[in-house]
Symmetry: C2
Subunit: 383 residues, 2 copies
């Protein structure tokens, strides 16, 4: 039950209020988990939890669905096992804290959840969690164990990213016209589930996702989204869950193609890879976040010559870049794609990487007026 003091002021529910629906099924799962443990303990047996393994060994590429997915391997976490008892206890505490959040209709950051679940174990100086490095993996364990995403546990990570474009949304009951967001834009929250954010009127025909806020500002200033009838998003580098989930929803619910404008470096490739297929660490999210049809619009290794750039744009690649690029070339979803192999080989042959921002060396708005429009017109992208 939400506390009385949290009652909405003007009749609208607060975020938490809306989120109660989302959390209900999850709360039920937590209750079941807890009563199973109590039952086993009552029978004087050893309570145990099965936690799906979140390691590379249990992740595979589903070639049909074209996303990363988690396998069936699990590890059992026993209470009566010296090596597992602490993690067992921690899992229970995180589950209990998430249940509190759901019951109160509120959300907390992963750091907040750490503080919430931390305390001294009665009669000892031992803490349930020493630092957040201990609680974060337990949150992920619980997500997979319950098959409930973090958002359903009412927990969020750091939010970043912005959006404008030819779309109206409703966010927690507020109608927001993304065509009239000025120079600032709408800040994309961490939890963008359908009970919080709904899509309303949309004329946009595609989404242009750019890597960084500074590039986004160039496109917004030039009103690219208006001229080209699209939605413009950015994810502050590697996009956080909220941005990925939002792109997923825009793609699947509004049927909008997603084009990614990223730097010509292994990090840009990796960002694309995560948007497209999911991340290895969090493969269990892929089915709700990965967008196998997302396109890589550039920058491309060939652009140095194709666009007639000067060596002012060159940034030397280092050993880290080289090994990262080779690793990415071997990803299941890139290894059979000739164009991607050529792209990565060319990067290595070039010996340099390039940032989207360097296109300003052609002219201030070259990227918004020539580079991107030309790629779109020629349907010239990597898949």
């Amino acid at each position: 039950m939400a506390k009385k003091s949290n009652a909405p002021v003007d009749g609208r529910t607060n975020t938490g209020g809306k989120a109660v629906t989302r959390g209900k099924a999850t709360a039920k799962k937590i209750e079941t988990l807890a009563s199973d443990v109590i039952e086993v303990a009552g029978a004087r047996k050893d309570p145990a939890l099965d936690i799906p393994i979140r390691a590379l060994s249990n992740v595979s590429y589903d070639a049909r669905r074209r996303i990363l997915k988690m396998g069936d391997s699990t590890q059992t976490r026993n209470f009566f096992n010296l090596g597992q008892a602490k993690k067992f206890m921690q899992t229970m505490l995180i589950a209990s804290s998430a249940k509190d959040l759901i019951d109160e209709g509120k959300t907390a950051s992963i750091r907040g959840l750490y503080y919430k679940a931390k305390h001294s174990i009665a009669g000892t100086n031992e803490k349930t969690f020493v630092d957040q490095d201990e609680s974060d993996p337990i949150i992920e364990d619980l997500e997979v164990a319950l098959n409930s995403l973090r958002e359903e546990l009412h927990v969020f990570a750091k939010e970043k990213g912005k959006m404008v474009g030819n779309l109206t949304i409703e966010d927690n009951g507020d109608t927001i016209d993304l065509r009239r967001m000025g120079t600032g834009g709408y800040a994309i929250p961490s939890i963008v589930e359908p009970d919080v954010i709904q899509f309303k009127k949309c004329e946009a025909k595609f989404v242009l996702h750019v890597e960084k806020g500074t590039v986004w500002s160039r496109f917004n200033e030039d009103r690219f989204w208006e001229k080209h009838n699209c939605i413009l998003t950015e994810g502050g580098g590697q996009p956080p869950r909220g941005v990925r989930r939002l792109l997923y929803r825009l793609h699947n619910e509004l049927k909008l193609p997603i084009y990614c404008l990223l730097d010509n470096d292994p990090w840009g490739y990796y960002i694309y890879s995560v948007i497209k297929q999911g991340s290895i660490n969090l493969a269990y999210e892929s089915q709700r976040m990965a967008i196998p049809d997302a396109k890589y619009l550039g920058l491309r290794s060939m652009d140095y010559e194709r666009c007639g750039l000067t060596d002012d744009v060159k940034i030397d690649i280092n050993d880290g870049d080289i090994s990262r690029a080779k690793q990415i070339a071997k990803y299941d979803w890139f290894k059979d794609k000739k164009e991607w192999q050529k792209e990565i080989e060319r990067l290595l042959k070039n010996g340099f990487k390039m940032e989207v921002e360097s296109l300003i060396s052609k002219s201030i708005s070259y990227v918004t007026e020539e580079y991107v429009p030309e790629r779109l017109k020629k349907r010239d992208w990597l898949d």
Copy 2:
């Protein structure tokens, strides 16, 4: 002249269009700078620039205005001086690039400006700038030399920070109701000058500025700004120029008090210090950004006992924290303030620091329902 292709689509000027007015006076200053140099060179003399010195030695605390300010010391940058010729050339290039931006009615990031001004010096392999570490200080030099802020040079830094609350703004011609921004909020842009952003209807009685996005989300979710009739901002840690300038304008134009909710650690103190008095590195900005009347609402070192917290919230302070705290205690604007001396002494005596997020250990909404309302009611803050 703005290029034809940048003409607004729907009759509204783009950001750049609006910004032309702002930039005009600056463009004039750059022209004067350039013609002075040409004139001197034409007379076969040594062109020189006077650049105000941006070091601590030339910064002082103005006790009457209660802000940091820059002194009158300058250094001369001569063209016919082997040690100064490169910087002279770089200053001219940055000035010329800024002039281009102003003329086109566009803005660029400091990284963009680096790429724009970078090229090979004719007949050599020498670059005008090797990396951005070389161009950033030149931008600052130019700001002080011209007495034009970065925003007037059409240059922006990374933007971060969000806002919601009982205020309507106009941003580049778009009316934005900050009471209806859902869970996401309005993303604060880097350039918030009056020609871009105007304040419209405002019922808010104060601004609550919090350190981080995760804390901001707690306050927004609990609709604190609605219950307490205020504006809620966050700056992603040390607030960027856009957020500081916006707070300054909210304070000075709308006469709203600014209350800062920051972590109980030297970093929190420092953030407050910059909001209040300005930063030593960029003292020349203080007159347009510093808010000497801003209040420090908490967390306080006494809160551990006053709020009955447990040692779960303690984070050990390290040597860096200790020397930083001692340094801050000696700042001109803190050194004679008994309450601030007590605050910092207590932190050192405690031997630990505390984050706002740790208040969740009391209860999920303790910070929004008890901690902040109580401080405000009792007018209990540090000045």
